[in-house]
Amino acid sequence: MMREYLSLVLLAVFVIVNGVGMILISHLILPPRPTPVKQTPYESGMPPIGTVRERFSVKFYLVAMLFIVFDIETVFLIPWGVAFRQLGLFGLVEMLVFIVILLVGYAYAWKRGALEWD
């Protein structure tokens, strides 16, 4: 009865071994050169400690919104791909309509310069 859960356990073991392994390997083969920047949790991200009132560009929001559009597209495309045969031609047409609507939005954002950083 517990057989069905075996793959889940295997996945958990793989994830743990993978994570721990990466940290271990990097500890073993990296030359030790500790600088303050290298000590931060996200070396190339934002400083983790600082004032909360820091202002950052509104352009980040635009990029984030565009990202969400395509994220949602994937969320819809994957279940459609799974049930592709059952949905048939109607499903294909509906998906095409959905993608065309998204593309128009994307074309609008592109043309109005949402993708240009300056």
């Binding site: 109607f90 609507i101 043309k111």
Partner: protein
């Protein structure tokens, strides 16, 4: 024309108006994106919007004339006279708004062809909201409409008040959407379905009249709707948002958005919760408080725009009386009043837009002094709008109120009818002063009202609205017949069950 909405062909035909409008939205968005540097594009997009709205209206009329009825299993979209009638009301409101906007955006230098695309998107959301036979589709329509209108409220980016209005509307609107969604979740928990027809069957089947989850769900839905239609005590955002938005957008919000909220409310209460008298009391109290508070606070308003904002709250109260009756006559009275209300509210805001400049917040009722001597036609139109809002005999507003009253009396809610009449008497205290100012007081100076003019498409719109209000006031029969058929189509013909 019987249509099976579960087949691809059936649902496509049933959604013809929405599909036509969607194609127009996409095309106009691309036009706005590709040609946004050309000076003439704004006007061009505006004219194309008019064509888009008219063609969508023709599609609705075609479906209605074909007598499209649903067959087979319950689907996610309704296909009844109520949906067609409300769609036409929204399209009418949007059309009049666009006609007012053509001159207004030039005068106020609001340079964004997207303005018209947003109006179309908002209208599309309204059509889905009022035509949904499923709470999830209704929520999607609500969000589509709301997001478009949030942006419209702040479309004048140089105005601080418009920014305030947009932010306030967005925050409170998002809050209200949360209530609405939670209500859907609880109703789903109690009935196991989000389909309105199936909910209706389930309520009768399981006897959910005193089910706590069901009652809490209806309560949360009512709060969500209360925000959207600006019923007291959920009206706090209304005066500020209506005041800060550009005047044509205010007209759109006061007329079409409110009508959409009411259409969905009527559909949910009269269709899904028909066998559940528990909501009657809540709506009764909402109607009474909204009528009293809206009318009394409007008495104290000197700026015309804020007065009209409170007047729209008061009218939400009148419409709630029609909802509270819970009968087919009530739904029909709502439909008729929605048409009349759209005409008179947009008309009043059109005159306001002509009388001022820069958002029209500073226009006091006294600023209309002597308008009748300088601009007799504008004054005459404003008189028709004010008298109709008041419910004066001979105007369509009177017939609308009479229909609502007869629905209330028919449902044995005489006290509500008496309160409605009393509230209407109070409302004379703020609808008559503009008329007095225009006709009985002298103009302050020789060059007063020189800038007050209605030109181009807006002139046609104002003329048609004033004439239509008088016409419906004297010959309401055909419109009343159509409203009655639309109202009766809401009743579920057969009792759908989940089939367990």
């Amino acid at each position: 024309m019987p249509l099976d909405l579960t087949t691809p062909g059936g649902i496509t035909l049933a959604l013809t108006p929405e599909l036509v409008l969607t194609v127009w939205v996409l095309v106009l968005m691309l036009v706005a994106a590709w040609r946004h540097r050309d000076a003439g594009v704004q006007r061009e997009v505006g004219l194309l919007t008019v064509i888009g709205l008219v063609s969508t209206g023709l599609a609705v009329a075609w479906l209605w004339a074909q007598g499209a009825t649903p067959v087979g299993l319950p689907a996610m979209m309704a296909l009844d006279g109520f949906r067609f009638a409300t769609s036409l009301v929204f399209l009418l409101g949007a059309l009049l708004t666009v006609m007012l906007s053509l001159g207004y955006v030039d005068r106020e230098r609001i340079q964004a062809p997207e303005y018209y695309v947003l109006i179309l998107l908002g209208t599309l959301g309204m059509m889905f909201m009022a035509g949904a036979a499923d709470l999830v589709v209704m929520f999607l329509g609500l969000e589509l409409m709301s997001v478009a209108v949030y942006v419209l409220a702040g479309v004048n980016r140089r105005s601080v008040f418009a920014a305030e209005a947009a932010l306030k509307y967005f925050l409170l609107g998002a809050f209200a959407s949360g209530f609405f969604l939670y209500g859907i979740a609880l109703v789903y928990g109690a009935t196991g379905t989000t389909n309105l027809w199936l909910i209706h069957g389930r309520v009768l089947e399981l006897g959910l009249g005193s089910n706590v989850m069901m009652i809490a769900g209806i309560g949360l839905l009512l709060i969500g709707f209360g925000f959207k239609v600006a019923a007291v005590p959920f009206h706090m955002w209304t005066p500020d948002v209506y005041d800060g938005s550009p005047t044509p957008v205010t007209a759109f919000m006061a007329a079409a958005v409110k009508a959409a909220g009411f259409a969905a409310l009527v559909r949910v209460l009269h269709q899904a919760f028909d066998g559940l008298p528990i909501w009657h009391g809540a709506v009764w109290w909402l109607a009474v408080i909204t009528m009293v508070v809206g009318n009394v606070i409007a008495l104290a308003q000197r700026p015309l725009k804020r007065m009209l904002a409170y007047s729209s709250i008061a009218h939400a109260g009148y419409l709630l009386v029609a909802v509270a009756s819970g009968s087919a006559i009530g739904s029909a009275a709502f439909l008729f009043y929605a048409v009349v209300y759209t005409l008179m509210t947009i008309g009043a805001f059109a005159v306001l837009a002509a009388a001022g400049t820069g958002g029209e917040q500073g226009v006091l009722i006294d600023d209309l002094n002597g308008l009748a001597t300088r601009r007799p036609w504008i004054a005459a139109a404003m008189t028709v709008f004010m008298l109709s809002l008041l419910g004066f005999p001979g105007t369509a507003g009177f017939i609308g109120k009479w229909y609502i009253l007869s629905a209330a009396v028919d449902a044995d809610q005489r006290l509500l009818a008496v309160i409605l009449v009393g509230a209407s008497v109070v409302s004379a205290g703020f609808y008559l002063p503009p008329i007095m100012a225009m006709y009985m007081r002298p103009a302050p100076s020789a060059e007063a009202h020189q800038a007050t003019r209605i030109v181009g498409a807006a002139r046609w719109a104002v003329g048609v609205m004033a004439v239509a209000l008088l016409l419906f006031g004297f010959w309401p029969n055909r419109a009343l017949d159509a409203a009655r058929r639309g109202g009766e189509s809401l009743r579920p013909a057969t009792l759908y069950t989940l089939g367990r």
